[in-house]
Subunit: 213 residues, 2 copies
């Protein structure tokens, strides 16, 4: 069968098509690597129109990783999408969803396991890189905590997906981020998911301008 | 903040919205659970229009799992999206992408690591459940092998995503499946990904009609 087998050509051609087809004119240059990674993760160039982010989100994330910040993810799928070779060796990736304390905490708080898992982030949250790619309730719970004065992460990448709470939680982040003085990136609407969340993270950790994309 | 925190209500409301908004009229009833899981995984009801599948794909997958078939995934993210509690305990999930032999094999074959990893499936392929959620070259390589007489899996769930080869590999599967007598499900076009692939698998392993969805 006739198809492209060379990894470097597949990679380069993917980003060429994205640059050719995607309209990024409404975004500042600093956010183009983020938009391109999101599009690459999902195969849809029009997600760029739903992207909302602070101009400093990639720089804030890079500075945090350079300082050895932990990476807090809401789901194992998100953590698995992170390209490990691009990370400083002292950056720990943490997923507390399957922590032994989470189910009881969820019952006590009257919420989902995903939201309860966020409670277990509190003492690691200061200066962390937070990546939410699945659960709207995890994002809502974190926003409530930040409103109550929890330590502030360096950057919040928020891409929960689905039909109940996803659009609402991401809109809430977009509305609240300026008052919280929180670098962030999110995708308005129902679309999102662990691949896009990991893609956003990889836009931070990979030097995209360095590898020609 | 005012949002739904009850997991069972989130779950039920999600599937209610999907049933309300999605047009599944072009699909046989046997494929509705599959379409609903795909939509649930990505937040887009219109993916149902790109779904192509053999009517027997869920039944074929269920019979294979009941017989203890291995589950072969092209990426760790796919394997992480599989709901383990729904699996028979003797079903092994296998991802060979990070096998120590894969990089050298990729160089020898002149292809991607994802395609080379598929080579390592050969002696587990007979009657297996195959789930591809990332790499078009993995799907192409498997189709080439099947054309050459490799053992036939019980079902092939193929959801590679992206701009180079994704649409082409899935169209090739759709065109070849009848001649190969291969139960399959795929999503035409560029959309796909590990969450949809895992969602399709979970439609097989969960008794969807039993839990009200």
């Amino acid at each position: 069968m006739d198809y492209e087998r060379r990894p470097d050509r597949i990679y380069a051609e993917s980003f060429r098509i994205i640059r050719d087809e995607a309209d990024l004119s409404h975004l500042p240059d600093a956010l183009h690597p983020l938009a391109i990674r999101l599009i690459h993760a999902c195969g849809m160039v029009d997600v760029a129109s739903d992207l909302r982010a602070s101009d400093d989100c990639l720089d804030a994330g890079r500075a945090a990783l350079a300082a050895g910040a932990p990476i807090l993810c809401d789901a194992e799928m998100v953590a698995r999408g992170i390209i490990g070779r691009a990370l400083p060796p002292d950056c720990e990736t943490l997923v507390t969803l399957n922590d032994g304390r989470t189910p009881a905490l969820a019952r006590d708080l009257g919420t989902t396991r995903s939201a309860a898992a966020v409670e277990l982030w509190r003492d690691r949250l200061e200066g962390a890189v937070v990546v939410i790619g699945n659960a709207p309730t995890a994002l809502f719970h974190l926003l409530e905590g930040l409103q109550q004065g929890w330590p502030r992460p360096a950057v919040l990448l928020a891409f929960p997906v689905g039909f109940v709470g996803a659009a609402e939680s991401k809109q809430a982040l977009h509305d609240m981020a300026p008052a919280l003085n929180l670098p962030y990136a999110t995708l308005l609407g129902r679309r999102g998911g662990s691949a896009m969340a990991a893609g956003a993270f990889n836009a931070i950790s990979l030097d995209l301008r360095g590898d020609g994309t």
